[in-house]
Amino acid sequence: MSQYWILVAILLPMVGGVATRFIPFKKEKQMFFFVEMYMIITSCIVWGLITGGTTEVFHVVHFVNDLSISFKIDGLTMVFAGLVSVLWPLATLYAFEYMEHHDRQNTFFMFYSLAYGVTLGISFASDMLSMYFFYELLTLSTVPLVMHSLERDAILATRKYLYYSLGGAAFALMGLVFLIVYGDTLEFQFGGVLNMAKIGGNANMLLWIYLFAFLGFGVKAAIFPVCEWLPTAGVAPTPVTALLHAVAVVKAGVFGIIRLTYYSFGTGFLRGTWVQDVVMILAMFTAVYGCSRAVKESHIKRRLAYSTVSNLSYIIFGVTIMTPLGLVGALCHMVCHAVMKICSFMCAGAFMHQTGKKYIFDMDGLGRKMPIIFVCLGLSGAGLMGVPGLAGFISKWNLAAAAVDSKNPVAYVGIVCLLISALLTAIYMMSIVMRAFFPPHDFDKNTIRNAKDPGWKMCLPIIICAVFTLLLGFFSTPLVQFFRTVAVGVY
């Protein structure tokens, strides 16, 4: 496929989104159909692109010198773009039913589509500046989604989200500037672009800069100590939390960190330095911290949000091992976690949508009433805690294999952290499932008489994600094989 299609893929959902806002649809159904159509077309284009084998850089705009907005397809792009393009149409389908009784649907879908285009922009960006550009746009385009309800807590949450994200981006910008000065080019190259001759005696300063930039991207990736915005942002409608705050936005942060570590600074420069230990320990700490907060939390969405905090740090842990295998583990968990977490968020949303309740202690006995939702929730929960045969086991296996292989004692401790966090995951996920399926014997069934599974538009994406969780658990070999080629920089 010609590289101009990249532009089409990025612009189509944006244009479609704006059109959704201004076309006067007679019926909701027409709008739904229209939105779903261009989402699917975009996804098809994306898949055409990533399987098409275009590798040339495509410059869109030239600023001064070599600063430009330009796109390229490499291995990492394939993973991230492939992932979001599968999940976005599914989450949109889910959103139709979820948003049915909400106001201002067309505005909602406008920004939902915009965010799709922007996320694709991040994944296709071929250099730091282009990525930075879309990274900022992502923050801006998702703000209206978080505060969709326009209630006070939503607005407060949005403010928090905005401040955290913009602050993080500023730190990331610092990394960008130093890359301009000390690197050969801004373009992403596997193995890094730093020019040792230019660095001279400033290596230590550059390590500091890496740390700052890491923390900057780490805001979106919700790493401790800058993770608090994520649970707060859970006030957004569930399709937003499920897709953006479990996959697109947060994984864009992780994506940024991977670009920064493997494609800009280069692992050769970073491995074995103090900064590697620092970021690895941060990731390990966050993995345990997120889970322990999740155990304490009884609001279902906040619990899942903390779980996301923890799981994102698994990915970052993989990244900070700074070996090809580490990247394999990271990518693997990026995909597996996306599938499992979006599934569990959608289930949580379905529970909230069908019963109007938000807390875990209100889930007693619902398993029998909403079998599809709770079986899928149980499945994704078991996946998250790493039961073999499900996606989470595979990704943790790869992460741990990388850690063992690296022969780095800190990484050994990291394995322990992963397992502690897995145990905590079991506690906070299994207690939900237990409640739902095995309420205490004196439980009064009449209180949940009217609960039932939602309609197909919500069930279908949930079931598809649950099936993915299973499939990834059993047939991961080709995928892992692909990640291996990505992680040695073949693409």
Binding site: A382, V387, A401
Partner: protein, 493 residues
């Protein structure tokens, strides 16, 4: 493929049937439920028997990733564990048909999960590599939890959760080890004598010893070994009696089985002998043996007493394994077999007593032997076997354990071990025999007038009697078993 396909049937028929029972709406009549479940038990048992007799089957199902094959291999050790599963599960199942009729409403769920556990247990015994083993080990934890909190009182649910989280905690200790073994072994398949890749291990011995300890402690959780034993005295008594019997005699043994696989089939005894791992492990088991008996002796609640007894007895087995000496290992394997039979009979008779009289504490059981003679006779026989009075079976296994221990050159523990075993045997007599004595000889002030025969129906008595008979029979005619086990042990040590 050919006959080895039977393995898949033996595993998945009960699992699928169990899921079907859980998912389908309630049966109109109890008869069809019982019929359905018993067909499941029957088919599985037959299949499992065929596999046991056939032996040495291999089946590579498929691979879920690099080094992660789902692979079954029925070797000699599998057959030992497969035997106890195949003896105990159907008998307990028959017993449960009567026992659970008391609790009409949720019988379907009980049998659903019970069948699943049956399949999963068989799968564990057939597992040919550590990944497959781990897969079914977790499934076992998950599918047996509903058995524990079956009655869903607050207490039961808390005990169930405790069981689940302890089990998972243990499983993650194990997983930690598997991650490292993946790097340091030639293959993750179980090979008698170990599969460590010595070229890679060189230089990292210290790390691998930590790994070994972590895996032993991890599997030790299920086996009720100190320090992570605390779930057992909560979870076993609170479950319905058939479930406690299965838990105490089989599921606990899968922890033992895991340790067996790790020590003798992955690391190899050679690697661990004489290291701090062995000494720590021996110490832990001896403490557990004594502690379990002591707690059982002090405990007044009947089923809880039996649960503590399990804690102690299973550590006999672990002690024998930790000695890494052939006599002792023979003793261990024998005790696996004997304890499974004895403990399930004990739990089933406790269940029968609770079922018929509602009495749950031992001090209220005076004269029980007069009311339920058949049950109490079986109970007494099994008690004697557990204490280790010749010629009942427990004597033989303990004999091997003690001689094995004395034959090693481990300082202190070589002689301390047998002493602890003897003290514990004494305590065992102390916590089991008074029940029988008070039961049969209630004393002159006992009210014989209002005595009524309360023996339960045949469905409950027959399984208990069969198990009790086996407990004695293994002691009287031990030679075929011993010769099989000796051969088995010779191949791993």
């Amino acid at each position: 493929m050919d006959q080895s396909v039977l393995i898949l049937f033996a595993i998945f028929i009960p699992i699928v049937l169990g899921v079907y029972l859980l998912a389908r709406p309630d049966y109109k009549s109890r008869v069809s439920l019982v019929a359905n479940a018993s067909v499941g038990f029957a088919i599985t048992t037959v299949l499992s028997l065929v596999i046991l007799i056939e032996g040495d089957l291999r089946l590579d199902v498929f691979t879920i990733g690099k080094n992660m094959n789902i692979y079954f291999h029925v070797d000699d050790m599998s057959r030992v564990f497969g035997t106890i599963v195949t003896i105990v599960m159907p008998l307990v199942g028959i017993y449960a048909f009567e026992y659970m009729s008391h609790y009409k409403k949720e019988e379907k769920r009980f049998f659903g999960f019970f069948l699943m556990v049956y399949g999963v247990l068989l799968a564990l015994t057939y597992a040919g590599n550590v990944v497959t083993f781990y897969l079914f080990y977790e499934l076992m934890s998950l599918s047996s939890v509903p058995l524990v909190f079956h009655f869903r009182s607050r207490e039961a649910i808390m005990a169930g959760l405790k069981y689940l989280f302890y089990s998972l905690c243990g499983a993650y200790f194990v997983l930690f080890g598997i991650y490292f073994l993946n790097q340091y072994t030639i293959t993750l398949d179980f090979v008698a004598g170990g599969t460590l890749n010595m070229a890679r291990v060189a230089g990292s011995e210290g790390l691998l010893l930590v790994v070994a300890m972590s895996m032993i402690i991890g599997f030790g959780v299920k086996a009720g070994m100190i320090p992570l034993h605390a779930w057992l005295p909560n979870a076993h008594p609170i479950a319905p009696a058939p479930a406690s019997a299965a838990l105490s005699s089989l599921i606990v043994k899968m922890g033992v089985f895991g340790v067996m696989r790790v020590v003798y089939y992955l690391f190899g005894a050679e690697f661990l002998r004489g290291t701090w791992v062995q000494y720590t492990w021996l110490t832990l088991t001896l403490i557990t043996v004594f502690f379990g008996s002591m707690m059982a002796y002090r405990e007044k609640q009947f089923k809880k007493r039996l649960a503590y007894s399990t804690v102690s007895q299973v550590s006999y087995i672990l002690f024998g394994m930790a000695l890494m000496q052939s006599q002792a290992l023979i003793g261990s394997v024998l005790h696996i077999l004997f304890h499974a039979v004895i403990k399930s009979a004990l739990f089933l008779s406790a269940g029968a007593i609770i079922y018929k009289t509602g009495v749950e504490r031992v001090d209220e059981m005076r004269g029980i032997g007069k009311k339920m003679p058949k049950i109490m006779w079986s109970f007494t026989l099994c008690s004697l076997a557990l204490i280790g009075i010749p010629p009942a079976s427990g004597f033989i296994s303990k004999w091997y354990l003690a001689t094995g221990s004395l034959a090693t050159e481990i300082p202190v523990i070589a002689w301390l071990g047998p002493v602890v075993l003897l003290v514990s045997a004494l305590l065992t007599a102390g916590y089991l025999l008074p029940i029988a004595i008070d039961g049969f000889f209630p004393g002159p002030d006992f009210d014989y007038k209002h005595l009524e025969k309360k023996d339960p129906t045949k469905q409950m008595i027959v399984p208990i009697m069969i198990l009790a008979a086996l407990a004695v029979l293994f002691g009287v005619l031990p030679n075929p078993v011993i010769s099989y086990v000796t051969e088995l042990v010779a191949s791993v040590l």
